[in-house]
Amino acid sequence: MPSNMNIIERLKQLADENPNGFTVYTANLEPVKSGWVVANKETQNCFGDQGLIKALGVALNSSKTIGGWKEKELFYWDSVMIFFDEDEATKAGIENEQIAIYHIETNYLKFL
Protein backbone atom coordinates (compact mmCIF):
# COMPACT_ATOMS: atom_id res chain seq x y z
CA MET A 1 0.00 0.00 0.00
CA PRO A 2 1.35 3.48 -0.80
CA SER A 3 2.17 5.73 2.15
CA ASN A 4 -0.46 8.27 3.27
CA MET A 5 1.57 11.10 1.77
CA ASN A 6 1.79 9.32 -1.56
CA ILE A 7 -1.94 8.60 -1.43
CA ILE A 8 -2.74 12.26 -0.83
CA GLU A 9 -0.53 13.45 -3.66
CA ARG A 10 -1.93 10.86 -6.05
CA LEU A 11 -5.52 11.60 -5.02
CA LYS A 12 -4.97 15.29 -5.68
CA GLN A 13 -3.58 14.39 -9.10
CA LEU A 14 -6.64 12.22 -9.79
CA ALA A 15 -8.86 15.11 -8.70
CA ASP A 16 -7.12 17.44 -11.15
CA GLU A 17 -7.51 14.92 -13.94
CA ASN A 18 -11.11 13.95 -13.15
CA PRO A 19 -12.92 17.08 -11.95
CA ASN A 20 -16.38 15.70 -12.73
CA GLY A 21 -15.80 12.82 -10.36
CA PHE A 22 -14.08 9.55 -9.60
CA THR A 23 -13.96 6.81 -6.96
CA VAL A 24 -10.95 4.61 -6.20
CA TYR A 25 -9.96 1.92 -3.72
CA THR A 26 -7.48 3.18 -1.13
CA ALA A 27 -5.41 -0.02 -1.29
CA ASN A 28 -4.18 0.48 -4.86
CA LEU A 29 -5.92 3.64 -6.08
CA GLU A 30 -7.56 1.60 -8.84
CA PRO A 31 -11.01 2.85 -9.92
CA VAL A 32 -14.20 1.31 -8.64
CA LYS A 33 -15.84 -0.17 -11.72
CA SER A 34 -18.76 -2.14 -10.39
CA GLY A 35 -21.31 -2.31 -7.63
CA TRP A 36 -23.91 -0.08 -6.02
CA VAL A 37 -22.43 3.15 -4.71
CA VAL A 38 -23.84 4.60 -1.53
CA ALA A 39 -22.52 7.87 -0.11
CA ASN A 40 -21.46 7.82 3.53
CA LYS A 41 -23.04 10.65 5.51
CA GLU A 42 -19.91 10.84 7.69
CA THR A 43 -18.04 12.38 4.77
CA GLN A 44 -20.64 14.89 3.65
CA ASN A 45 -19.32 18.42 3.13
CA CYS A 46 -15.65 17.41 3.14
CA PHE A 47 -13.84 19.75 0.80
CA GLY A 48 -10.35 21.07 0.23
CA ASP A 49 -7.22 19.64 1.89
CA GLN A 50 -8.84 19.25 5.31
CA GLY A 51 -11.80 17.50 3.73
CA LEU A 52 -9.48 15.12 1.91
CA ILE A 53 -7.69 14.20 5.13
CA LYS A 54 -11.00 13.63 6.92
CA ALA A 55 -12.50 11.57 4.08
CA LEU A 56 -9.32 9.52 3.76
CA GLY A 57 -9.36 8.80 7.48
CA VAL A 58 -12.94 7.59 7.26
CA ALA A 59 -12.17 5.56 4.12
CA LEU A 60 -9.16 3.80 5.64
CA ASN A 61 -11.26 2.80 8.66
CA SER A 62 -14.36 1.75 6.77
CA SER A 63 -15.14 1.07 3.09
CA LYS A 64 -11.58 1.59 1.77
CA THR A 65 -12.84 3.76 -1.06
CA ILE A 66 -12.39 7.45 -1.65
CA GLY A 67 -13.32 9.86 -4.38
CA GLY A 68 -14.82 13.18 -5.10
CA TRP A 69 -15.97 15.82 -7.54
CA LYS A 70 -15.46 19.49 -8.22
CA GLU A 71 -18.31 21.87 -7.60
CA LYS A 72 -17.75 25.49 -8.46
CA GLU A 73 -14.19 26.10 -7.24
CA LEU A 74 -14.14 23.49 -4.46
CA PHE A 75 -13.21 19.84 -4.68
CA TYR A 76 -15.44 17.73 -2.47
CA TRP A 77 -14.15 14.43 -1.08
CA ASP A 78 -16.10 11.48 0.21
CA SER A 79 -15.80 7.85 1.10
CA VAL A 80 -18.51 5.75 -0.49
CA MET A 81 -19.73 2.28 0.35
CA ILE A 82 -19.85 -0.34 -2.37
CA PHE A 83 -22.48 -3.07 -2.32
CA PHE A 84 -23.12 -5.90 -4.73
CA ASP A 85 -26.63 -6.51 -3.47
CA GLU A 86 -29.33 -3.97 -4.35
CA ASP A 87 -31.34 -4.50 -1.18
CA GLU A 88 -28.32 -3.98 1.06
CA ALA A 89 -27.38 -0.87 -0.92
CA THR A 90 -30.90 0.49 -0.65
CA LYS A 91 -30.93 -0.09 3.13
CA ALA A 92 -27.55 1.60 3.52
CA GLY A 93 -28.69 4.51 1.36
CA ILE A 94 -31.72 5.10 3.56
CA GLU A 95 -29.62 4.79 6.75
CA ASN A 96 -27.21 7.36 5.36
CA GLU A 97 -30.04 9.73 4.44
CA GLN A 98 -29.27 9.62 0.73
CA ILE A 99 -31.69 10.75 -1.95
CA ALA A 100 -30.40 8.12 -4.39
CA ILE A 101 -27.89 5.31 -4.95
CA TYR A 102 -25.98 4.51 -8.14
CA HIS A 103 -25.20 1.26 -9.92
CA ILE A 104 -21.85 1.90 -11.57
CA GLU A 105 -21.63 -0.70 -14.33
CA THR A 106 -25.09 0.08 -15.73
CA ASN A 107 -25.11 3.85 -15.02
CA TYR A 108 -28.39 3.23 -13.23
CA LEU A 109 -29.70 5.78 -10.77
CA LYS A 110 -32.13 4.60 -8.13
CA PHE A 111 -34.03 7.22 -6.17
CA LEU A 112 -34.84 6.18 -2.62
Partner: protein, 231 residues
Protein backbone atom coordinates in the same frame (compact mmCIF):
# COMPACT_ATOMS: atom_id res chain seq x y z
CA UNK B 1 -26.70 23.65 -8.05
CA UNK B 2 -26.87 24.07 -11.84
CA UNK B 3 -25.52 20.61 -12.73
CA UNK B 4 -28.00 20.52 -15.62
CA UNK B 5 -27.20 23.32 -18.04
CA UNK B 6 -30.07 25.75 -18.66
CA UNK B 7 -32.07 24.27 -15.78
CA UNK B 8 -33.48 27.76 -15.19
CA UNK B 9 -35.88 27.13 -18.10
CA UNK B 10 -37.88 24.89 -15.74
CA UNK B 11 -38.06 27.29 -12.79
CA UNK B 12 -41.51 28.64 -13.50
CA UNK B 13 -43.00 25.30 -14.56
CA UNK B 14 -41.94 22.81 -11.87
CA UNK B 15 -41.55 22.88 -8.11
CA UNK B 16 -38.29 23.68 -6.39
CA UNK B 17 -38.33 20.23 -4.76
CA UNK B 18 -38.71 18.43 -8.11
CA UNK B 19 -35.92 20.46 -9.67
CA UNK B 20 -33.65 19.82 -6.66
CA UNK B 21 -34.29 16.07 -6.99
CA UNK B 22 -33.57 16.23 -10.72
CA UNK B 23 -30.32 18.08 -10.05
CA UNK B 24 -29.28 15.58 -7.36
CA UNK B 25 -29.78 12.72 -9.81
CA UNK B 26 -27.87 14.52 -12.54
CA UNK B 27 -25.03 15.15 -10.07
CA UNK B 28 -24.73 11.40 -9.40
CA UNK B 29 -24.62 10.64 -13.14
CA UNK B 30 -21.88 13.24 -13.52
CA UNK B 31 -19.84 12.05 -10.57
CA UNK B 32 -20.04 8.30 -11.21
CA UNK B 33 -20.22 8.13 -15.04
CA UNK B 34 -19.33 11.63 -16.31
CA UNK B 35 -22.74 11.88 -17.93
CA UNK B 36 -23.98 15.46 -18.29
CA UNK B 37 -27.24 17.00 -19.41
CA UNK B 38 -28.04 20.22 -21.21
CA UNK B 39 -31.52 21.53 -21.94
CA UNK B 40 -31.24 22.68 -25.54
CA UNK B 41 -34.64 24.26 -25.93
CA UNK B 42 -38.19 24.38 -24.75
CA UNK B 43 -40.21 22.83 -27.57
CA UNK B 44 -43.64 23.83 -26.23
CA UNK B 45 -44.77 27.16 -24.78
CA UNK B 46 -46.10 25.47 -21.63
CA UNK B 47 -42.75 23.78 -20.91
CA UNK B 48 -44.17 20.29 -21.44
CA UNK B 49 -41.68 19.26 -24.14
CA UNK B 50 -37.92 19.71 -23.94
CA UNK B 51 -34.97 18.91 -26.17
CA UNK B 52 -32.10 17.62 -24.05
CA UNK B 53 -28.56 16.78 -24.99
CA UNK B 54 -26.95 14.01 -22.92
CA UNK B 55 -23.24 13.50 -23.28
CA UNK B 56 -20.79 11.10 -21.67
CA UNK B 57 -17.13 11.97 -21.19
CA UNK B 58 -14.15 9.91 -20.12
CA UNK B 59 -14.52 8.32 -16.70
CA UNK B 60 -12.22 6.08 -14.67
CA UNK B 61 -15.01 3.52 -14.15
CA UNK B 62 -15.02 2.90 -17.94
CA UNK B 63 -18.73 2.06 -17.93
CA UNK B 64 -19.71 3.71 -21.16
CA UNK B 65 -23.32 3.91 -22.32
CA UNK B 66 -24.37 3.61 -25.96
CA UNK B 67 -26.95 5.93 -27.56
CA UNK B 68 -29.93 3.81 -26.55
CA UNK B 69 -28.77 3.65 -22.95
CA UNK B 70 -28.13 7.41 -22.80
CA UNK B 71 -31.66 8.02 -24.08
CA UNK B 72 -33.09 5.72 -21.40
CA UNK B 73 -30.98 7.33 -18.66
CA UNK B 74 -32.25 10.77 -19.67
CA UNK B 75 -35.89 9.73 -19.91
CA UNK B 76 -35.69 7.96 -16.55
CA UNK B 77 -34.11 10.99 -14.87
CA UNK B 78 -36.50 13.55 -16.30
CA UNK B 79 -39.51 11.36 -15.49
CA UNK B 80 -39.35 13.06 -12.09
CA UNK B 81 -41.08 15.97 -13.79
CA UNK B 82 -44.63 14.73 -14.32
CA UNK B 83 -46.17 15.31 -17.72
CA UNK B 84 -42.87 16.22 -19.35
CA UNK B 85 -41.95 14.85 -22.80
CA UNK B 86 -38.27 14.86 -23.69
CA UNK B 87 -36.53 14.63 -27.03
CA UNK B 88 -33.08 13.26 -26.31
CA UNK B 89 -29.94 13.97 -28.33
CA UNK B 90 -27.37 11.41 -27.11
CA UNK B 91 -23.63 11.91 -27.51
CA UNK B 92 -21.81 8.71 -26.45
CA UNK B 93 -18.20 8.75 -25.33
CA UNK B 94 -15.61 8.20 -28.05
CA UNK B 95 -12.16 7.37 -26.65
CA UNK B 96 -9.42 9.81 -27.71
CA UNK B 97 -6.71 8.41 -29.99
CA UNK B 98 -4.08 8.90 -27.28
CA UNK B 99 -5.71 6.23 -25.12
CA UNK B 100 -3.77 3.60 -27.08
CA UNK B 101 -0.69 4.66 -25.12
CA UNK B 102 0.25 1.99 -22.57
CA UNK B 103 3.67 0.89 -21.24
CA UNK B 104 3.69 -1.86 -23.89
CA UNK B 105 2.79 0.60 -26.66
CA UNK B 106 5.67 2.81 -25.49
CA UNK B 107 8.17 -0.06 -25.48
CA UNK B 108 7.06 -1.13 -28.96
CA UNK B 109 7.36 2.41 -30.33
CA UNK B 110 10.79 2.87 -28.76
CA UNK B 111 11.99 -0.36 -30.30
CA UNK B 112 10.46 0.47 -33.66
CA UNK B 113 11.91 3.96 -33.90
CA UNK B 114 15.20 3.21 -32.16
CA UNK B 115 14.35 5.75 -29.47
CA UNK B 116 16.17 5.58 -26.15
CA UNK B 117 15.09 7.03 -22.84
CA UNK B 118 17.93 9.52 -23.07
CA UNK B 119 16.59 10.68 -26.49
CA UNK B 120 13.21 11.42 -24.91
CA UNK B 121 14.98 13.13 -22.02
CA UNK B 122 17.01 15.29 -24.42
CA UNK B 123 14.01 16.20 -26.58
CA UNK B 124 11.49 16.91 -23.83
CA UNK B 125 13.60 18.05 -20.88
CA UNK B 126 11.86 15.46 -18.69
CA UNK B 127 14.34 13.63 -16.47
CA UNK B 128 14.76 9.94 -17.15
CA UNK B 129 13.91 9.17 -13.52
CA UNK B 130 10.40 10.37 -14.42
CA UNK B 131 10.29 8.69 -17.83
CA UNK B 132 11.36 5.17 -16.77
CA UNK B 133 8.45 4.50 -14.36
CA UNK B 134 5.98 5.39 -17.13
CA UNK B 135 7.66 2.97 -19.52
CA UNK B 136 7.94 0.08 -17.08
CA UNK B 137 4.41 0.66 -15.79
CA UNK B 138 5.43 1.53 -12.24
CA UNK B 139 3.82 4.97 -12.46
CA UNK B 140 0.44 5.57 -14.12
CA UNK B 141 0.43 7.89 -17.11
CA UNK B 142 -1.89 10.88 -16.85
CA UNK B 143 -3.86 11.92 -19.93
CA UNK B 144 -1.34 14.71 -20.49
CA UNK B 145 1.57 12.24 -20.43
CA UNK B 146 -0.26 9.88 -22.82
CA UNK B 147 -0.89 12.76 -25.20
CA UNK B 148 2.76 13.80 -24.99
CA UNK B 149 4.05 10.30 -25.86
CA UNK B 150 1.45 9.77 -28.59
CA UNK B 151 2.42 12.90 -30.48
CA UNK B 152 6.12 12.47 -29.68
CA UNK B 153 6.15 9.15 -31.53
CA UNK B 154 3.78 10.40 -34.27
CA UNK B 155 6.41 13.06 -34.95
CA UNK B 156 9.25 10.54 -34.71
CA UNK B 157 7.55 8.36 -37.31
CA UNK B 158 7.13 11.30 -39.67
CA UNK B 159 10.87 11.85 -39.70
CA UNK B 160 12.86 10.76 -42.68
CA UNK B 161 13.06 11.07 -46.44
CA UNK B 162 11.17 9.27 -49.20
CA UNK B 163 13.25 10.50 -52.17
CA UNK B 164 16.83 9.36 -52.74
CA UNK B 165 19.42 9.63 -55.49
CA UNK B 166 20.34 6.41 -57.27
CA UNK B 167 23.70 6.39 -55.47
CA UNK B 168 22.07 6.87 -52.07
CA UNK B 169 19.51 4.18 -52.80
CA UNK B 170 22.20 1.67 -53.76
CA UNK B 171 24.07 2.41 -50.54
CA UNK B 172 20.86 2.01 -48.49
CA UNK B 173 20.18 -1.28 -50.26
CA UNK B 174 23.69 -2.49 -49.46
CA UNK B 175 23.39 -1.47 -45.80
CA UNK B 176 19.99 -3.17 -45.45
CA UNK B 177 21.40 -6.38 -46.93
CA UNK B 178 24.07 -6.15 -44.23
CA UNK B 179 21.37 -5.57 -41.59
CA UNK B 180 19.51 -8.69 -42.76
CA UNK B 181 22.38 -11.01 -41.92
CA UNK B 182 23.30 -9.46 -38.59
CA UNK B 183 22.41 -11.32 -35.40
CA UNK B 184 24.13 -8.97 -32.99
CA UNK B 185 21.49 -6.55 -31.63
CA UNK B 186 24.13 -3.90 -30.88
CA UNK B 187 25.38 -3.95 -34.47
CA UNK B 188 21.82 -3.91 -35.83
CA UNK B 189 21.18 -0.78 -33.80
CA UNK B 190 24.34 0.85 -35.17
CA UNK B 191 23.33 0.04 -38.74
CA UNK B 192 19.87 1.53 -38.21
CA UNK B 193 21.51 4.66 -36.79
CA UNK B 194 23.79 4.85 -39.84
CA UNK B 195 20.72 4.70 -42.14
CA UNK B 196 19.04 7.48 -40.18
CA UNK B 197 22.06 9.72 -39.76
CA UNK B 198 23.70 9.32 -43.17
CA UNK B 199 20.64 9.00 -45.42
CA UNK B 200 17.60 10.14 -43.44
CA UNK B 201 16.23 6.64 -43.95
CA UNK B 202 13.93 5.63 -41.07
CA UNK B 203 12.80 2.01 -41.29
CA UNK B 204 10.01 2.83 -38.82
CA UNK B 205 8.54 5.23 -41.37
CA UNK B 206 7.91 2.37 -43.78
CA UNK B 207 7.37 -0.66 -41.58
CA UNK B 208 5.70 -1.28 -38.28
CA UNK B 209 6.34 -5.02 -38.45
CA UNK B 210 8.50 -6.45 -35.70
CA UNK B 211 10.31 -8.82 -38.09
CA UNK B 212 13.42 -7.48 -39.75
CA UNK B 213 13.21 -5.09 -42.66
CA UNK B 214 14.69 -6.66 -45.82
CA UNK B 215 15.95 -5.65 -49.25
CA UNK B 216 12.77 -7.20 -50.69
CA UNK B 217 10.72 -4.84 -48.49
CA UNK B 218 12.83 -1.94 -49.77
CA UNK B 219 12.32 -2.85 -53.44
CA UNK B 220 8.61 -3.26 -52.86
CA UNK B 221 8.47 0.34 -51.58
CA UNK B 222 10.01 1.47 -54.88
CA UNK B 223 7.51 -0.60 -56.90
CA UNK B 224 4.64 0.91 -54.92
CA UNK B 225 6.03 4.44 -55.47
CA UNK B 226 6.38 4.97 -51.73
CA UNK B 227 10.08 5.61 -52.33
CA UNK B 228 11.21 7.68 -55.31
CA UNK B 229 14.64 7.37 -56.92
CA UNK B 230 15.88 10.43 -58.78
CA UNK B 231 18.61 10.62 -61.40
Amino acid sequence: MGTIKNIGILDLVYSEADIAKLEAGAALHLRHSNISFKILRNDAPDGSTLSIRVEQGKHLSENYADKERLIKITKDLFSILKGLTVHVHPVPYIPPVVDVVTPKWLSDKMLLTGTRIKDIEANTGIEKTNISPWINGKKPMSQIVKAMFYYYFAFEQQKGRTTFTEGEFNNIRYIISDLEIQNDERLKKMIREQLRNDYGFYISKFSSAKKGFTVIDLLKLVDENVITIIG
